[in-house]
């Protein structure tokens, strides 16, 4: 059975989005199964039309920073991060789980969530997934 790594994504920054994308797609290439559990602000990364901003930059530059990073990453060959995530999800090696309780807490509706995400799950379901694997908090 393939190795599984479970990730908790709790922030909505561009950095967290990029880390999720890089680790999930590389895991797919390495036949490592990745479960991502999105909770609190991390849920924003799963909502339609959301554009993550760079947390580590001064406030007026956060949005522009993401555009600059995207441009630079395109030059490295990372041209379509969302498309890469879709491929890894379609290959079955990357799964994106919204956390149900924090969705309710943050008033994020099921229809706001992107189509490639799994059905929302709760803490017990995520911990059950993690029982025999590793957990990484992003």
């Amino acid at each position: 059975m393939a190795e599984t790594i479970n990730y908790i994504v709790k922030d909505k920054s561009f950095e967290k989005f990029a880390m999720m994308m890089l680790l999930g797609t590389t895991g797919d290439a390495m036949d490592i199964h990745s479960n991502f559990f999105f909770t609190f602000w991390g849920l924003n990364l799963l909502t339609k039309k959301f554009k993550p901003k760079v947390a580590g930059m001064p406030t007026p530059m956060k949005g522009m920073g993401a555009k600059i990073f995207r441009k630079r990453m395109a030059k490295f060959g990372i041209e379509d991060p969302m498309g890469m995530i879709k491929d890894a999800v379609e290959n079955g090696n990357m799964k994106l789980f919204p956390c149900q309780m924090t969705m309710d807490l943050m008033k994020i509706k099921a229809e706001d969530i992107i189509d490639i995400a799994e059905e929302p799950v709760g803490a017990a379901t995520f911990l059950e997934m993690c029982a025999d694997g590793k957990i990484v908090s992003l």
């Binding site: 590389t26 290439a29 390495m30 036949d31 490295f76 060959g77 990372i78």
Partner: protein
Amino acid sequence: MAVKTLDYSGLKCPMPVLKTKKELKNLTSGQVIEVISDDVGAKKDIPALLNKIGDELVELKEEGSKLIFIIKKA
């Protein structure tokens, strides 16, 4: 002899790994490819990928800033 030479110069992590994997998927057992990268991270990343998926790194050559991986599909 390599059936294909793939030059990934200019690409950075994780693209050389992702593209190498994509190519390996389409090979038949025993076929060899040559992968070129100038990403310093690839020196450890490509062997890590191969270690995980079970294909063989036949040779790693360094020519200036270029890394040349000779890879055999298991």
